[in-house]
């Protein structure tokens, strides 16, 4: 067996995540979250709910996200969620989930399909209204939606009034980051 390890880089191309502070806003790249999609197989919703409850994985309603002790999740499409878990302990997230769900769900690793930016600070709607048509001000905490930002299909999750997560396509991490920075400077 070859004796080496491959060193990861972040979506923005560095060894460690980037943090930008612009006016009241902090934009933090997050490389410490593992992701997997979890889709219910035909007629297996009950089994999935039981298994999810057993491992403490919330299955939020349409347009919502929910946090658990270990696993968090947000809704993607009917009977499909994106599951979040700590990367350090759950890098191979699918391997962690498969035993719990067996053949009741289709589970796919999604960790590196996405770049995640956490946007923290007051008055986040003022920043995001330059980028997304989602009505962030009106949305309740926990709202999760797919939205378009500068041509990029992203997931936007309102954790609290002062914390929003944006998941964008990883290959466009630099473009999305640029859009966030430019928008923040524009409305500063």
């Amino acid at each position: 067996m070859p004796d080496f390890i491959l060193n990861p880089i972040t979506a923005l191309g560095h060894a460690t995540p980037e943090v930008d502070i612009i006016g009241p806003w902090t934009i933090t790249e997050r490389a410490d979250v593992a992701l997997a999609s979890l889709a219910v197989r035909r007629g297996r919703l009950g089994d999935v709910q039981t298994s999810a409850a057993a491992v403490g994985l919330p299955l939020p309603a349409a347009g919502a996200s929910a946090s658990g002790a270990l696993y968090s999740a947000f809704w993607m499409t009917p009977e499909m969620w994106m599951v979040e878990a700590p990367f350090a302990s759950h890098e191979d997230i699918r391997a962690h989930l498969l035993p719990a769900f067996g053949d009741a769900a289709s589970i796919t690793e999604q960790t590196d399909a996405w770049v995640r930016f956490d946007l923290a600070g007051a008055d986040l709607p003022r920043l995001l209204e330059r980028l997304s048509n989602f009505d962030l001000a009106k949305a309740a905490a926990g709202a999760a939606t797919r939205t378009v930002m500068e041509h990029l299909g992203c997931y936007l999750i309102k954790r609290t009034d002062t914390l929003v997560t944006v998941y964008g396509p990883r290959s466009s991490a630099q473009s999305l980051h640029h859009a966030l920075i430019v928008a923040a400077q524009s409305v500063l």
């Binding site: 491959l6 990861p8 035909r42 289709s106 330059r130």
Partner: protein
């Protein structure tokens, strides 16, 4: 220069002085001024030249309806043509130039056009520039463009940025005059989310231009108070300098906010303008009204303007346009102007009132039943000729003339969905028609309620109704007492007997032109517009359309509503293309997608190519290579000789799971996947329902109910969409789940005779041919890291694709290159990839062109007829299954030194190069470094039976006619021995 025409009062800040230049001369003004008010304060009435006749012109208005006072604002790259001086906010250091004149504004050589006006009447272009047709573009158009024009473009790149944004509200209120402020107060106090937008930099609308009081306050003071209250409400967003330009479907409005136009340049990082997409539940139009002129002979001299604008300059900006001022009116509002000016100490020399009776103004020479017949004064008004009620004429010295022909409600936005305005005789104007725009209501002057009291009341009422429809309750309004004068007007559109009486001063359309249009039977409103150009260009006829219509009505003997009206379209006022483009310019035109090896490739000096949003390595030059071919040839030869590595992450990857996954793939692919063994890959051909090939790629079976399908880079999105359609709509109960994993895995092709040796150094498992045979697929590990391996080949060599989670992709390419050093491994780019796939005879985008069938590609046997799949039935249509149809062939020049040209067509020897002799065409062309000559793929009629035939490749555009030989499309290893090595 002193501000000779500045008088007392006004909403300007006299404690500060702003310096500015117009046509190179320095002037002074104050914050609160527009360029027009400041120039008028400095005694400058002449601000431009007209479009066609180059007549001297000054502003006729004090707002966005302005047709005349168009200037080039700023200089250098920020110069902006056709800026209305009447809305350009004055700032310190402003520079502006007049336009459409040469050599100077006061002496314009093209004013000669005015002398030839009898030739330049309506329809002039149509009649004059007819024959010969060959002259249209080359001779006539340049002449027309040079002579008739507005401002000029600098052709320098705009240094500023523009933003876009999205806003949400319960109620959007368009216009912040008395009606808009009243509506906003009612709506805002109820707690509704309100956006109040106004094009002006100061909210208040006409309240800022009038002297009457609201309650016991000046109108502008009441407006300030209302604005202060509204800005204290967290649910209200006030947007000044914001023009709502268009009404779109379902409550969506477009608006331009001029964020930095009032600054000498935008602050760092700030946009010049922002284009907002506003989502509203309800909208209220309180856009006010626009005064219209009365046409008379030579009514276009600088100094002649709309009476209400003259009043606005005096009241809001403290400017008397002339030292001797006359008023020409057909309604009571003109009298108000006279009173206001007189009370400000302006010398009102006469009020010419076309009406016989009515109120007689005290202390002013009020000539009832009189008309203004004409004007005199070079470059500006010096006198008017008046015909008294008794028919006598008199010349009256005047340097300013205010004209009031009545007020037109600003119905524009209400007709953006084609609703036609309706005529009201009592105010002699069009009001909004019964709305086709759902959830839009209109209040105040825009609805034809022209008094201040009426504006306040209807604004409140309409807001109340909107709130009720949203389930919100309004608190009682506390409306101040305000003027409630009735509209008293006796319509009079133009002074009889006048000819060169301007209707549309921007387009130089006169009463005479409308008469000519009538005489030539262009009487329909739409014909009238196009024949005379009435109402076109930057002002879109805000002051002229109704007047033109009324003149035509008079000529046809029909009523105005029977004559018709034009329908306004977006935008309300001109919108810069930059604002519509937003950030999408240059490098920011679209996002980039970077491959996992991008950073490494950049370090190596790779040349990148855009493939959709992706940037892929096109080739990777080495020292000493001078042309792209040097690099590409080397990459190909090195790969075929030893081993080459290519980042193939861009290919779409779709994870397909579920107990019906195999059956689902059988439906969407022409060939069968349910029979594929776990741990194996198969090439698949996806058809459209019409039987044409849609996409191709390999699919691997990773588990009993788990497949990974790859798509072409170009079709990744459309294939996914199609699969979702099949899954949800065509077979809604199949147990199949889809998700894209394109970006989740960094995937590298490792190809060449030494591919296995190289990979064996980095993977943890045995990948010998026995352990991992051709078309094998499976989960493996790389230094303990989870990875996937597929033994597939696009190049025709022994090849694998290896995938690791994307964050390890950068380390992976470095590791592969390190491990490959002993084999002289190269990285090859998309060009070498293309060369090798053509050498091997694989189809790609050029062959998958949307009009090709599997049979055309020589893959007809792949379409299984034992099962139902998309496109299976229609691919059997007679015309698509003929034996002598197009087939994929290989092509090489008979003379190996000959060059082939892309786009060539295949013809038999000796026939004429005509379409009827066309036997097919060349689809893909490369120089094969391996074979040492050009090779190509193409579609040839009955191609499979013509291998060995000598033909010609003819390219009429390139002027080439090259002898070719038709060969097998598989130039390399036709038996596939290398793949299985």
């Amino acid at each position: 220069m002193s501000q000779s025409n500045r008088i007392s009062g006004g909403l300007i800040d006299r404690s500060q002085t702003l310096r500015f230049h117009f046509d190179g001369l320095p002037y002074l003004g104050h914050p609160g001024d527009t360029l027009a008010s400041a120039l008028l304060a400095n005694g400058v009435r002449l601000m431009g030249r007209s479009f066609k006749y180059h007549r001297p012109r000054g502003p006729i208005s004090a707002g966005s309806e302005e047709p005349n006072a168009l200037v080039e604002l700023r200089s250098g790259a920020r110069q902006e043509p056709n800026t209305r001086a009447t809305v350009a906010e004055l700032f310190d250091g402003l520079t502006a130039q007049s336009q459409n004149r040469w050599p100077s504004l006061k002496f314009d050589a093209l004013a000669i056009n005015d002398r030839f006006n009898s030739f330049l009447t309506a329809g002039f272009y149509y009649k004059t520039f007819m024959w010969p047709a060959s002259f249209w573009e080359k001779v006539y158009e340049p002449i027309i463009r040079r002579a008739a024009g507005l401002g000029s473009l600098t052709k320098l790149e705009d240094p500023d940025t523009y933003d876009k944004g999205f806003l949400h509200c319960d109620i959007l209120i368009i216009g912040a005059g008395p009606a808009g402020l009243s509506a906003a107060l009612t709506a805002g106090r109820s707690g509704a989310r309100v956006i109040l937008a106004d094009e002006d930099f100061r909210m208040g609308g006409r309240l800022n231009a009038e002297t009457f009081e609201l309650g016991d306050q000046a109108g502008s003071a009441w407006a300030d108070g209302a604005v202060a209250e509204l800005s204290s409400l967290p649910n209200v967003r006030l947007m000044t300098r914001t023009t709502v330009a268009g009404a779109f479907d379902h409550g969506i409005y477009g608006a331009v906010e001029r964020v930095s136009d009032h600054l000498i340049e935008p602050a760092p990082g700030k946009p010049r303008q922002t284009f907002w997409r506003i989502y509203s539940q309800r909208a209220i139009l309180t856009g006010g009204a626009t005064e219209r002129p009365i046409a008379f002979e030579n009514n276009d001299r600088p100094g002649i303007m709309l009476a209400g604008s003259l009043r606005a300059y005096a009241n809001r900006w403290g400017v008397a346009v002339g030292d001797k001022t006359a008023i020409f009116t057909n309604n009571d509002d003109g009298l108000r102007t006279a009173r206001d000016l007189q009370s400000k100490g302006v010398d009102v020399v006469a009020v010419i009132d076309s009406r016989e009776g009515g109120e007689l103004l005290p202390g002013i020479r009020h000539l009832r039943g009189a008309e203004v017949m004409g004007s005199a004064g070079r470059l500006g008004l010096s006198s008017i000729t008046v015909r008294h009620a008794d028919g006598k004429t008199e010349v009256i010295k005047a340097t300013a003339l205010g004209v009031s022909g009545g007020w037109n409600p600003n119905v524009n936005i209400t007709s953006h969905h084609r609703s036609r305005p309706i005529w009201r005789d009592d105010i002699a104007a069009f009001v909004p028609g019964s709305g086709e725009i759902a959830n839009l209501s209109v209040a105040g002057a825009a609805a034809g309620t022209l008094s201040t009291h009426g504006a306040l009341v209807t604004g409140d009422e309409v807001a109340r109704a909107a709130l009720a429809s949203l389930g919100l309750t309004a608190t009682a309004a506390n409306l101040p007492k305000a003027e409630d004068a009735p509209v008293r007007i006796t319509p009079m559109w133009y002074v009889k007997g006048s000819n060169r009486a301007w209707i549309d001063s921007q387009n130089d359309v006169t009463v005479k032109d409308i008469k000519l249009a009538h005489q030539e039977n262009f009487t329909s409103v739409e014909h009238l517009k196009r024949y005379t150009t009435l109402g076109m260009a930057t002002d879109q006829g805000k002051t002229s359309n109704v007047l033109g219509l009324a003149v035509m009505a008079g000529l046809t003997g029909k009523s105005i509503p029977d004559t018709g009206t034009t329908v306004y379209r977006p935008p309300y006022t001109p919108v810069a293309l930059g604002a519509l483009g937003g950030r999408g310019r240059g490098q920011e035109f679209k996002p980039f997608r970077l491959t996992p090896s991008h950073k490494w490739a950049q370090e190596q000096g790779a040349v990148f190519v855009e493939v959709g949003y992706w940037l892929r390595t096109q080739w990777l030059p080495k020292a000493g290579e001078t042309t792209w071919r040097d690099s590409v040839d080397r990459e190909v030869l090195a790969t075929r000789k030893s081993v080459g590595i290519c980042d193939v992450t861009t290919l779409g990857k779709i994870d397909i799971q579920g107990t019906d996954a195999g059956a689902f793939l059988d439906k969407v692919y022409a060939n069968t996947f349910s029979t594929l063994a776990v741990g194996k890959c198969r090439y698949g051909l996806m058809l459209r329902e019409d039987g044409m090939v849609f996409d191709d790629g390999t699919t691997a079976r990773m588990g009993q109910n788990e497949y990974v399908t790859t798509t072409t880079t170009a079709n990744a999105v459309t294939v996914f969409r199609h699969l979702e359609f099949c899954r949800q709509v065509l077979w809604p109960d199949m147990d199949v789940q889809l998700i894209s994993t394109t970006e989740a895995w960094a995937q590298f092709s490792v190809a060449g005779p030494n591919a296995r040796k190289l990979l064996q150094k980095v993977v943890d498992q045995d990948i010998s041919d026995a352990a991992f045979p051709y078309m094998g697929a499976g989960n493996i590990t790389v230094g303990g890291l989870r990875a996937r391996l597929f033994r597939i080949s696009f190049s025709g060599e022994l090849a694998y694709e290896i995938a690791v989670p994307t964050r390890y992709g950068d380390a992976m390419i470095r590791k592969l290159m390190e491990a490959g050093a002993e084999f002289d491994a190269v990285v090859y780019g998309t060009e070498a990839l293309g060369v090798m796939r053509i050498e091997k005879g694989h189809v790609a985008g050029n062959e998958l062109n949307g009009t090709s069938t599997a049979l055309n590609m020589g893959l007809g046997k792949m379409v299984s007829r034992k099962k139902d799949s998309i496109g299976m039935v229609l691919s059997q249509r007679e015309g698509m299954t003929r034996d002598d149809g197009l087939r994929l062939v290989g092509v090489k020049p008979v003379n190996p030194a000959a060059e082939l040209k892309a786009g060539s067509h295949f013809l038999k020897t000796g026939v004429a190069a005509k379409a009827e002799n066309d036997d097919g065409w060349l689809t893909s062309l490369v120089y094969s470094p391996h074979l040492g000559h050009y090779i190509a793929l193409g579609y040839l009629k009955d191609g499979s039976n013509r291998i060995g035939e000598k033909m010609r490749a003819v390219n009429l555009l390139a002027g080439t006619d090259t002898e070719i030989e038709i060969v097998s499309p598989h130039f390399i290893d036709p038996e596939g021995e290398r793949l299985r090595a």
